[in-house]
Amino acid sequence: MKIIRSIINLLLFDFLKGLAVTGRNFIKPAVTLQYPEQGTIPKSPRNRGALALREYPDTGEERCIACRLCEVTCPALAITIESQMRSDGTRRTTRFDIDTFLCIHCGLCQEACPVDSIVLTDLQNYTIKGRGDNIMDKEMLLNIGRAYESKIAQNRQDNEPYV
């Protein structure tokens, strides 16, 4: 037995076996993606990415009613709200700031929101380039909401059975 084993070792059979694996994988199409340069990765509808404020698609009216539940529920104290009566008598925010440095993307604000206004989109790759840019104000958040409204709505619908 010992002699047979020595002959096999001498012929580098194991080496070829290993190379065969490499060879096979060399020809096989790759499963790894180069993030973020390459392609899109599949995401759960519950993915907790950048925050956004939504509007009602039919009227264009902002959903937020300044109830401040997100502000009080936020464990990282990332949200700052100031509110006032708007000229039409409704309760609206005059300031809605999220400090993205503080935000831990826990999603409690989304859960607290009674009107589905504040949501976490599946937008993950956003960057902050300057000091002070970490504060996302109301207009920025509404813009994100406007741009991704269809995706947000789709995700929420997909998640509906599991809520």
């Binding site: 300044a66 109830c67 401040r68 009080v72 509110s83 006032q84 009566m85 409704t90 309760r91």
Partner: protein, 792 residues
């Protein structure tokens, strides 16, 4: 404990001692056993309409309302038995049938009794599927916002109006589903205590309008303070939003702090809504100095040196220290110490008075030394002389109303204007300012069984009846209101009132202006007293003399000359010709900007700490509720610095309580040596012989710098009008609703006039409304003429 026999009952297995006649809910509250409730309130009558407090009482086959069930010996009460829980859940479901679930936009959210109770005692589910009821909102004026759909008909607001405010402004109409809380006819809530319904409402049906949608209860930190507006010194809480940067801190609302001896559970609208003035755009942010006619911002150091340089060569006779009684005791004490370095003797704080000839006979401080606010409630008969206590000291008036309600007291009145009162009145006598002191002196003669000299029949008759009533009562009180003290014959009025009190065995109390008049008397903000009632070597000049000077030097502390003084025009013209005016103030008042040379920015009441002494002599300290804003500084810090600049020996204390303690110790050791000069025997007073006198009645919402800048309160004021009796108007050929020219000693203004039968003949009245400047003396003679061709 009292000697009354107590009853023993058992609540949830815990044995509880109760007074006979007590309700189960009151006994439970005292022992910290929680029973849910909506309509029950310890200060209001019991109606048992909400049924939320149903409890299981042994030997009763159905649950009983704890608020209406009187304890009896051996009673066994269970609040957590199956029966009680079932009842609580059913009631909660019933109340939520029509209550909208709009908590996220409701201002009460987070501090709502309905929210709390439904979390604690509700079932969480309902079978009700039908449409909910909606109710149209009422417009209750600029202070109270309504959302009547949220109302659960507990009727606390209705009972408050009937029982406490004495103005049944709200009522309940309809039955069952159609029940509405409404004002019947459209009008706003005008009671001086109406703001309290905001706190009473257990749901979000009645909320504060200025605070609407501005914040949530959980964001606020609560700071205890004392009201800076009236002589009662109500206890209150400032609710403050603490933001990360102190510049953004602000007071978002004011709520009462219960204190049985002072304000009970209530505060007046003026105390509640004046906080809006704190954010006014006229707040001073930096010390200001006038350089060749232009205002420049300077640093504190430069400003203080400039003040020192200005006062360096001033002669003491020509230096006047005038302070508003809104300043704290500590500020007054240091103000005196600072100006003592310049040998100043001309101090005064009596901005709204004009007659001081009895000043030497005054006690250590006006107000009352032997009367507590609670004792007012036990008085059998009360005589009000002048003034409108209801507006000037609403919580004092509340005590008088309580006296009429609980002890059937009789309240009589001698006044110059017919003010509406909120309690049943005894004898009333409304006379013109000319006749006012004369009538009172006639009454004193009646009390001494002399023949009253030529008093009209009606007033001598009511005078006799009032004096008889005061004499016959065991407990009687004479209240001298503010306008009696701004009367040109006020020193005689005070003397007569003292005499009358002695003759009839009554107590006497003087309603004073501002929160700290007593403090001003104690710290010697007077020309004839040093601190703690000590007599000075030289008696200085009082405020009316001060305003008559030319090229004098004035130090104004929290004074807005044209708005705070008895005769604003006189004060302004004095400042116009002044040599130097140094002002300490929180706001850039236009009159100060025009006449002052240096303005030092003081912190507002919220950013300040100190002590106020109320009319009953209670020392009430408050601490700083939030850090000082902009570059303003608390007055006691600034004054200490100024003292220190003059003399290095002057100690600087960083803690105000040390300072307060020093003052209190000195008060205790020095004021007993105060010798009181006995009151002169009042002479018989002749009526003033002016043909027409005007009573320029200051609205309580114009009383100090802070409240003048509170926007919601200012919206409640009506346009100023000259009220006049048609018979008086006839003499001047004035028609109703006509614009008239009013000429006083110095000034001419035009106002629309209106006929009013309640104004005495020979007198006119102006209820000061929206006009920010009405430069007429509080009580003074005028002439009238109609404006030609005007028919508005």
């Amino acid at each position: 404990m009292t000697d009354n026999p107590t009853i023993q009952i058992e609540i949830n297995g815990q044995s509880v001692q109760c007074q006979p006649g007590e309700s189960v809910i009151a006994a439970a509250d005292r022992h910290g056993i929680s029973i849910p409730r909506f309509c029950y309130h310890p200060k209001l009558s019991v109606v048992a309409s909400c049924r939320m407090c149903l409890v299981d009482v042994e030997q009763s086959n159905k649950p009983l309302p704890a608020c209406k069930t009187i304890v009896s010996d051996g009673m066994v009460v269970r609040t957590k038995s199956e029966l009680a829980i079932e009842a609580q859940r059913a009631i909660m479901e019933f109340l939520l049938i029509n209550h909208p679930l709009d908590c996220p936009i409701c201002d009460q959210g987070g501090e709502c009794e309905l929210q709390d109770v439904s979390m604690g005692y509700g079932f969480g589910e309902t079978d009700y599927q039908q449409a909910k009821r909606t109710v149209a909102d009422e417009n209750l004026g600029p202070l109270i916002a309504t959302d009547m759909t949220r109302c659960i008909h507990c009727s606390r607001c209705v009972r408050f109006g009937d029982e406490v405010a004495g103005m049944p402004e709200l009522g309940m109409t309809g039955r069952g589903e159609n029940t509405r809380i409404s004002t019947y006819l459209k009008h706003s809530m005008e009671s001086e205590l109406s703001g309290n319904v905001i706190d009473l409402c257990p749901v979000g049906a009645l909320t504060s309008k200025p605070h609407r949608y501005h914040g949530r209860s959980w964001e606020y930190t609560q700071h205890h303070s004392i009201s800076p507006h009236d002589c009662v010194g109500s206890h209150l809480y400032y609710h403050i939003v603490d933001k990360k940067s102190s510049e953004k801190n602000r007071v978002t609302r004011v709520v009462p702090r219960a204190n049985e001896t002072i304000n009970q559970n209530w505060i007046s609208n003026r105390d509640r809504f004046s906080y809006q003035g704190l954010e006014h755009h006229q707040r001073l942010k930096q010390p200001m100095m006038k350089k060749s006619g232009k205002w420049e911002e300077v640093t504190w150091q430069n400003a203080l040196y400039a003040v020192q340089a200005k006062l360096e060569h001033v002669s003491p006779d020509n230096l006047y220290g005038i302070i508003n009684p809104t300043a704290t005791l500590e500020e007054m004490y240091l103000f005196r110490q600072w100006l003592d370095h310049y040998q100043c003797v001309n101090f005064d704080h009596r901005l709204k008075e004009c007659d001081f000839s009895d000043q030497a006979e005054m006690p250590l401080y006006p107000g009352s030394l032997d009367l507590s606010l609670e004792a007012v409630e036990t008085m059998e008969s009360i005589l009000m002389i002048g003034g409108n206590t209801r507006a000037e000291a609403p919580l004092f008036n509340h005590r008088i109303r309580q006296a009429t309600q609980q002890h059937q007291s009789r309240v009589h009145e001698l006044n110059m204007l017919d003010f509406e009162s909120n309690y049943p009145q005894g004898h009333r006598c409304i006379v013109s300012p000319q006749q006012f002191a004369h009538t009172l002196s006639g009454w004193l003669m009646l009390a001494s069984d002399e023949v009253a000299p030529n008093l009209p029949d009606s007033s001598s008759k009511s005078g006799q009846a009032i004096i008889d009533d005061l004499t016959a009562s065991n407990q009687s009180l004479i209240v001298l209101g503010l306008s009696a003290q701004s009367h040109p014959q006020s020193s005689q009025i005070r003397r007569i009132a003292k005499r009358l009190a002695k003759k009839t065995g009554s107590k006497l109390i003087l309603i004073t202006d501002g929160p700290n008049t007593a403090g001003a008397w104690i710290t010697g903000m007077l020309p004839h007293r040093k601190p703690f009632g000590q007599t000075p070597e030289t008696v200085g000049q009082h405020i009316t003399h001060a305003w008559q000077q030319r090229s004098a030097n004035y130090i104004l502390y929290q004074v807005e000359p044209d708005l705070d003084c008895f005769d604003g025009h006189l004060a302004r013209s004095a400042l116009e010709h002044a040599n130097c005016v140094i002002a300490f103030h929180s706001y850039r008042s236009p009159s100060l900007e025009q006449h002052a040379d240096i303005i030092l920015p003081l912190s507002s009441h919220v950013e300040n700490a100190g002590t106020f002494i109320n009319i009953c002599g209670q020392w009430q300290s408050f601490s700083q509720a939030m850090p000082h804003r902009y570059n303003s500084r608390p007055g006691w810090v600034v004054l200490q610095k100024l003292c220190h600049l003059l003399s290095n020996n002057h100690p600087i204390v960083s803690d105000i309580t040390t300072l307060s303690q020093t003052i209190n110790n000195q008060f205790n050791t020095m004021s007993p040596s105060f010798t009181r000069i006995p009151t002169k025997e009042p002479e018989s007073v002749k009526p003033l012989n002016h043909k027409l006198m005007n009573h320029n009645y200051w609205s309580p919402f114009k009383s100090d710098a802070l409240v003048r800048r509170a926007s919601a309160l200012q919206q409640t004021l009506n346009q100023s009008k000259l009220l006049i009796h048609p018979d008086t108007a006839k003499q001047y050929a004035i028609r109703n609703k006509q614009v008239v020219t009013i000429k006083s000693q110095y000034k001419t203004i035009q106002l629309p006039c209106e006929f009013n039968l309640s104004i005495p003949i020979g007198c006119s009245a102006i209820h000061q409304g929206c006009d920010s400047v009405l430069p007429l003396p509080a009580i003074g003679h005028i002439t009238l003429s109609s404006v030609e061709g005007d028919q508005t």
